[in-house]
Amino acid sequence: MYESTAARWFRRVTLALIALFALFPLLIILLTTIKPLKDVQNTFQWIPSHITLAPYAEIWSTVPLLHYFVNSLIVSSSSTVVSVTLAVFAGYAISRFQFRGRRLFSLAVLSTQMFPGILFLLPLYLIYVNIGRSIGISLYGSYLGLIITYLTFALPFAVWMLAGFFATIPRELEEAAMVDGTSHWGALFRIVLPLARPGIVAVAVFAFMTAWGEVLFASVLTTQSTRTLGIGLQEYATSGDTAWNQMMAAAVVVSAPVVVVFLALQRHLIRGLTSGSVKG
């Protein structure tokens, strides 16, 4: 883009301010995790009275963090795998086939984004409790119930994005393969999937993050044994004085995996968005 000197400086200053806004809280959190408890109970100090890594060691015993961590990991990765698989199938159907109900299906899937979560939280809770009572499949308070719930949260966006992504892959490749005797299924698995890898990765990251950060449904559908990080992390605040240094250390520990993966894959994500969503 052509720009004047004034425009260039405007751009530099706004970028610097935005970066400050984005990064300042992150500096505070990192600084807090290396402070001893008495520092965080008094007025904020820029320089720690001494530097300690104790908060990172203490977080595991104050709250059963590892337990919550494992719960979140099980729920988030299972729901990611299933929802990405389902989205690959559905996205492929939308981008490659003309069939009755195609438009209705895409609209119905997207319209779920419009539903307020609270509207289906109450019935879902009752449905899960009652399924458990009548059939014996426990969905309330179990991993399975939460996995099923979360996989549908990421599904609409995933279907929509993958359909857009598949549409950019030339059909001729599959047609050539099918002339050679490959079935539709073979074409999907051997030709389309490898080419769509960046889109699939982007969708998987999105699905994982959705589940990892969810709080509303977790607060109702989990019990102590299946509690996930979103609820568990708040326990650092409930024991009288908040051990902010531990709370921040725990926050760093639970964020690190997603942040690292997200940043490593952001190129894929932007590419996926460019070819998928923008056609909306």
């Binding site: 984005a22 609270i118 289906f120 109450l122 599904l155 709370m247 964020s255 460019t274």
Partner: protein
Amino acid sequence: MTQAVKPQEPVEAAGEKRTPAAYRTRWWEREGVIPYLLIAPAILFELLVHFIPMVAGVIMSLYGLTLFTLHHWASAPFVGLGNFKLAVSGPIGSALLQSFTVTLPYAVLVVGLSWVIGMLAATGLSAEFRGRAVLRSALLVPYALPVYVGIIIWSFMLQRDTGVINTVLVRDLHLVHSAPFWLLGTKAFWSMVAAAVWRWFPFAFIILLAGLQNIPTERYEAAAVDGSSSWRQFRSITMPGLRSANFVLVLVLFLWNFNDFTTPFVLFGSAPPSPADLVTLHIYTVSFESWNFGLGSAMSVMLMVFLMAVSAVYLRVLRRGGESGV
């Protein structure tokens, strides 16, 4: 939604003349069946988690589903529109209205500010310069963090006595004399907006950045040859080029933030100050504190009708705008 086409197919196939090709085409490989097989699992789960509960929610709003009837829901009395009347009248009604009048400006402000900051960042980073990739990653971190972590950080920074914000304002810069309580009263609303914008502007940024990459650079080069100013280029090239990205982005951000639960819940628990009592948390509290699920469902149905109306108007207005050739 789904047409059941599966069971009779193999019989048909068996009746056909068996050329080698037809012999190999099983029922699950037929053109007419494949798309339905592909979407069937997605439909199954969407039905279970979204559509059936939604219908159940609408039905529940017509029943007196309270603590006493909750676990024998077949015996809950039909109350017609009673829950809706209860939801809009008396103190319950005014509390719900108050919650709506807080949520609307909240959603509008968060969408507006996130969009402006995201747009400034996206246009700022569309040109090549040293450190661009690093800066882009840095700006995405707030979005990569789990939602509740972001809110917890803000909660810590906004503490009155131990928080960094008051330290900077009062002790370091001497801008204010007595340290304000950021998490009480009206200030709680602005604290919530700040935390939510911090979380959502990177999302606007990444979507807009992706949108900008789809605008051919020749257009800018041509405009530069004509001597158009940056602002002019922004208005006549960038904005029209981002039309479809903006279309989805604004709607989705609005819906997500109107339904926001995590921000007030993590900041205030289930008893937020009334200027921060967003509607989802409000309904949640009403439902789970009184166990009056009928009333809670009625409120949720009203919320959904409101959001559907807003979305419908939005889609209509913008589609018309599109036809007039923007």
